[in-house]
């Protein structure tokens, strides 16, 4: 299902134009109050709007929410507490078919997702992760035309959420369901989505491939939201015996995960560059010496400008960390880059 919005506006959204391809998972990022949930509500038909929404090229403006065929996973786990897991899963099916067939189909779905053991339990007896897994099964049971996911794993512990994200992505790809995934987290967006967009103050200010936002120059509000990444040009790249890659970026060498294609640039968010007072020369990879050349404070955070050879990097640390390190301009420090937080392009 292709989704297209044209000049979509309401009390929060301002002329949102969005194209999502069939079977694509699109991550929608943005600060609190940007209008992400409103955009999902608008597409699903729960919020009024001006402008146009098209599913596969046909306008759905006149269709009420119950006829749009959009599955929706809310921030709060919305399993109906008075229905068993089976009744919950069969609910969207019962609106379309006979009750007995709906129950049979729901049983099949629960079985395929290894959830049949919960069929006769009420949601109140399940853990947060189990509940959300059942909510996913319910949302997918009626084969929705699109799936809208509004930070669905916000209330679940980190490990379970990571597992559920992976499972959900596999399911969406297997069933070829077009989805919009709202999140605050860049890493979750990169993990889940094929493309992503940034919505700020009701305006869609960026759309592109998942890492693209880190390598583009943006308007002020977008760069404030992303956090002005450090961009490093790769001069040369070689594969190490371990299978990892080593990129030469000016005077520093950075070890990267194995990469199939060619790379030209690296992006590292300033909050992902760790610093520590230099005690001795380090032998760890992705750790090197730097000199502090400037320190500025903004909103209880300190921005540290570091010279590492000819490279200039920016690191962002919180006030307690800064106070603890007692660093000053001119100090030598150890700079550490986390392998998982380096974006490649």
């Amino acid at each position: 299902m292709e989704i297209k919005t044209k000049n979509l506006s309401n009390f929060i959204l301002k002329n949102v134009n969005l194209d999502i391809k069939d079977g694509e998972i699109f991550a929608l990022l943005g600060p609190n109050g940007a209008g992400k949930t409103t955009l999902l509500n608008t597409i699903s038909g729960l919020s009024p709007y001006y402008g146009n929404i098209f599913f596969n090229g046909s306008s759905i403006n006149d269709l009420p929410a119950e006829k749009r065929g959009a599955g929706y996973l809310f921030q709060e786990i919305c399993l109906f507490p008075h229905m068993t897991v089976l009744e919950n899963t069969a609910y969207p099916l019962k609106t379309k078919m006979d009750k007995t067939i709906a129950n049979e189909k729901a049983t099949e779905i629960l079985k395929s997702m290894n959830l049949l053991k919960f069929a006769n339990l009420y949601p109140g007896r399940l853990s947060g992760g189990e509940k959300q897994k059942i909510a996913i099964a319910r949302a997918l049971s009626a084969k929705p035309r699109i799936l809208l996911l509004d930070e669905p794993f916000k209330s679940i512990d980190i490990n379970t959420a990571a597992h559920l994200r992976e499972e959900l992505k596999n399911l969406l790809k297997k069933l070829k369901v077009t989805a919009i995934y709202v999140t605050h987290s860049f890493s979750h967006a990169e993990e889940m989505a094929d493309r992503s967009g940034i919505l700020i103050d009701g305006k869609l200010l960026h759309t592109g491939a998942k890492h693209e936002m880190f390598f583009k120059s943006h308007k002020n509000e977008v760069s404030n939201f992303i956090g002005s990444p450090n961009i490093l040009n790769i001069d040369s790249l070689k594969t190490l015996d371990s299978g990892l890659c080593e990129a030469q970026c000016g005077d520093i060498k950075i070890v990267l995960p194995p990469s199939g294609g060619t790379m030209g640039k690296l992006a590292i968010l300033s909050k992902d560059i760790g610093i520590a007072p230099r005690n001795e020369s380090s032998t760890k990879f992705n750790q090197f010496e730097g000199n502090i050349i400037d320190i500025s404070e903004k909103d209880f955070h300190f921005k540290i400008k570091i010279a590492a050879g000819k490279n200039i990097l920016f690191s962002e640390i919180s006030k307690p960390v800064f106070d603890n390190f007692k660093i000053k301009t001119g100090n030598k420090i150890n700079v550490t880059l986390n392998l998982n937080n380096i974006r490649m392009n």
Binding site: A65, K67, F74, C78, F80, Y91
Partner: protein, 259 residues
Amino acid sequence: MVKHKLKSARASNLNDAKLGFIPIMAFLIIWEIAGRSDFVSRGLLPPFTEILSQFYELVKTGILIENLGKSVIRVLAGFSMGALLGIAVGTVMGWNKYIDKIFSPLISVLYPIPALGWLPILMLYIGIGEALPITIIFICSFFPVCYNTICGIKNVDKNYIFAAKTMGASSMTILKTIVFPLALPTVFTGLRLEAGMAWRVIIAAEMVAIPTGIGALMMKAENLIRMDIIIVCLLVLSVMTFMFERFFMKLEANLTKWK
């Protein structure tokens, strides 16, 4: 392990019941001793055993059954009509904001009037007959049940409604399958409270205006200074109120197993 836990839970419940029985027994023993002592006149405080024998006498002669039967029929008729209409009107008002806006002021004006406050008007309009206590009980049940139902329907989390909508459910299906079942606990709170209240109101109405029923029997006993009959009536009233409330508690437990 599970069986063991169930057994110990049952044993604990039994112990709780036994614990609750002790003060009742103590009260009855003190009552019996006080009734048989010379400190209080027997006419004012007959011993508990005399109350039991008077209860047996009233049952044997059919006086208690006849009067209790009349009161039960009045309560059942008035309460079931008031509660059913209260649930129906409350559901419509809670679900449809326009109907709510139209009728809400009327309900707000009539709801605070005590049910017995209607008695003089109703005596003039419908006279002293079977319709009078039934109407009083109807009024006593309708407003609180209606009010609780409105609150229950309105307080259902909107996300459940949105979720059901995106799953293709029509407005009527959402009301039937999501909103009403989720409002049931609040509806039952109203029903339980009013089940007890209906008995208090019927006794008052029968004492004041109706010549038959448990309330009227108490008034006749008062005229004859028969404290034993009054106490029998009060105990019967207590048991009936308790049974009515327990019935709704059981019904609620059955209909809201998910809680």
